[in-house]
Symmetry: C2
């Protein structure tokens, strides 16, 4: 038997596994250390009451023969698809119910959607960016081209600077930089894709953090996007579902390549290799779109955004340059003192007992930057920033 030799081309370890390993080693050596985690972008606020109540009701239903549910449709229950459809309608985007596919999360979908795409394509990936865009394509042996996000372009690479490619990943608000494309910029990308029959994979996982009404929260707010873009989104950051697992992907019927509609291809992929999201979880996700659930989850987002404001103010005090943190839960700071990302990571862990993420973990162009997340507890965020200010003032 032959293994998939492309796995040999992967970088040795997934970024967050490396961070977890370093953290565990430090903890073992210093069991007394009071460590504050601002590394992995994981939420800390509990599930909101509307979601908890909906899931408790669903668990009870599953325990009664009359209301028990077995297999659901792989693409999700229509009650949830329709709730998502309504959410998009509120953004001015009209979708068909069967253009929405409920899944166990954006990470799964971003990897699995590649099943539909020939390995002969070249993919264009921003640098820095969420590492799974690269790894999932390395695993399949696709050629990867990069486009650089930098201070000069506001960490928002544009088609004019980009090499030719068949598929492009856009992540807005961006992980890790917090940068957000405006409508004119996205229109350039949509035109670029439609002109050359390319495909945009639009990662909207952080859309709920956009507060500026002029900024797009879905690529389908841009004219022409339905003929060139797949949008992937998640309840992880919107409603604290990182440990509850639910997301969705939109594949418009108008998206046709080589005379083939991609929507039924994705349906076929999902009905063959996936069996749907737990009924209980889908009821929880549905509750996010009720009046009560929406208010509660947006209050949690406001809580995290207040953390981001506190973090930004602290960095201002010590004169550190940073990006993001306004329409995003991430602060992307310039590392002071000429240290590399992993040097600063170690120093921050050892001297301030704060865990962050080296920008270089998101790509070569991320070297010299560092990502801090606003997903923590407010008091701990304040404490962490005090420690960081103190550390930086000594560099």
């Amino acid at each position: 038997m032959k293994i998939n030799a492309n796995y040999n081309n992967l970088e040795k370890s997934y970024l967050f596994i490396t961070i977890a390993k370093k953290l565990n080693e430090y903890k073992e050596a210093h069991p007394e250390a009071d460590i504050i985690k601002m590394g992995i972008g994981d939420v800390t606020r509990p599930l909101c009451p509307a979601v908890v109540n909906a899931m408790n009701r669903a668990v009870t239903e599953m325990g009664n023969a009359e209301t028990f549910r077995g297999y659901g449709d792989e693409q999700g229950y229509s009650f949830l698809q329709d709730a998502i459809k309504g959410y998009y309608a509120g953004k001015g985007v009209e979708l068909e119910t069967d253009e929405i596919f409920v899944s166990d999360g954006a990470k799964s979908d971003l990897g699995n959607i590649l099943d539909l795409i020939s390995t002969e394509n070249t993919v264009l990936v921003p640098d820095p960016v969420y590492p799974v865009y690269v790894d999932t394509n390395v695993m399949a042996g696709r050629k990867i081209a990069y486009m650089t996000g930098s201070e000069e372009n506001g960490f928002l690479p544009m088609p004019g600077d980009a090499p030719e490619a068949d598929i492009v990943y856009l992540c807005s608000p961006n992980n890790p930089t917090g940068a957000v494309y405006d409508k004119d910029q996205l229109k350039e990308w949509v035109d670029w894709a439609n002109e050359r029959d390319a495909l945009i994979l639009f990662d909207a996982a952080y859309e709920a953090f956009v507060g500026d009404e002029n900024l797009p929260t879905s690529i389908y707010q841009i004219e022409g996007a339905k003929t060139c873009a797949i949008e992937v989104c998640s309840f992880s950051k919107t409603a604290g579902f990182t440990g509850t697992r639910c997301g969705y992907t939109v594949v418009p019927h108008a998206l046709v390549r080589e005379n083939t509609e991609l929507n039924p291809m994705w349906r076929r992929r999902q009905t063959t290799k996936f069996n749907g999201v737990p009924y209980i979880v889908q009821r929880g996700a549905e509750a996010v779109f009720t009046e009560e659930g929406y208010a509660q989850t947006r209050a949690d987002i406001a809580y995290y955004k207040e953390n981001a404001r506190i973090m930004a103010a602290a960095l201002d005090e010590v004169g550190v340059t940073y990006f993001g943190g306004i329409n995003s839960p991430y602060i992307w700071m310039k590392i002071p003192g000429g240290m590399t990302g992993w040097e600063f990571f170690d120093k921050l862990l050892e001297e301030a007992n704060v865990v962050g993420t080296p920008g270089v973990g998101f790509g070569k162009a991320g070297e010299g930057y560092f990502r801090l997340t606003a997903f923590g507890n407010k008091e701990r965020t304040i404490e962490a920033m005090e420690r960081i200010k103190k550390l930086i003032s000594l560099i």
Copy 2:
């Protein structure tokens, strides 16, 4: 952009989608019909109290900041891995915790595990069998060879009759035929695989239905299996999790191909393209292995096996030949009167208002047979068999 052209080679529709479509059309035309479903292998007993209580506790935990859980390890919480490990120990199989990967179900894993395997391999698939073995390989462009299950070999094809291949799928107890390999037969397969560095993908989804103590419920009960087999299992049929979604896959460290351990490859695949199973669901699955949960779920399996006994007795009455139904929830009956599978499907739906599955849906060699499931309600199963007896007595 080029699409994955292998999708063009798929049969037009997934079997159970076709059945659902035919059923819906019939229902629309005959809204008054009292239809009994014995088609798709879906459970009907509610989740047992031990699981319901565990999930309710977990939902409450997720609603409190102190006990809230965000991202878990992609391969599952150790509390569940260790419970599974204990279950295997009870079968006389020693596993390491990190050889067990918790997932959202056997269907996902059976598809996704192919990511590790070169598309240049030839896979060997029994005919008839669970359709996703074929479809997932067609999607990747692998060459597929078949081995026929027939009355002559008890629907248990053996290496002696099989063409050369790199990977073989074994499903025991078999879906759809209900046939179960004995230890000597599995030993032949293990030797076959070890001799040629082939890989066995062992689907144990129905292992909990094996009542005969002499029959194996895990391939690792066979000497030498750890160097050649991956085992995929699920809570779907064991504990009624078809709508709750949890399964697991065992990749032993001893499994090495081309000087590469497959265990870390699968870990890398899962950490890159998957984000774990909901915490709430993992707590539910853990409860299946408590004394209370085990007794409750085994009582449900006994309930379904009593249905199978009733079904078998009814077919005996009208002199129909059948297989399975003893260590399996499926009855694999020979269609009387020379009808094809889909002809009998239509006749059964229209004249008896009973839905089953044409054997040909599981492969060419399934033509002339028909699958009935024992997963229904007892009273409805009795009623269905009365109708079937009546129908068959008129053929």
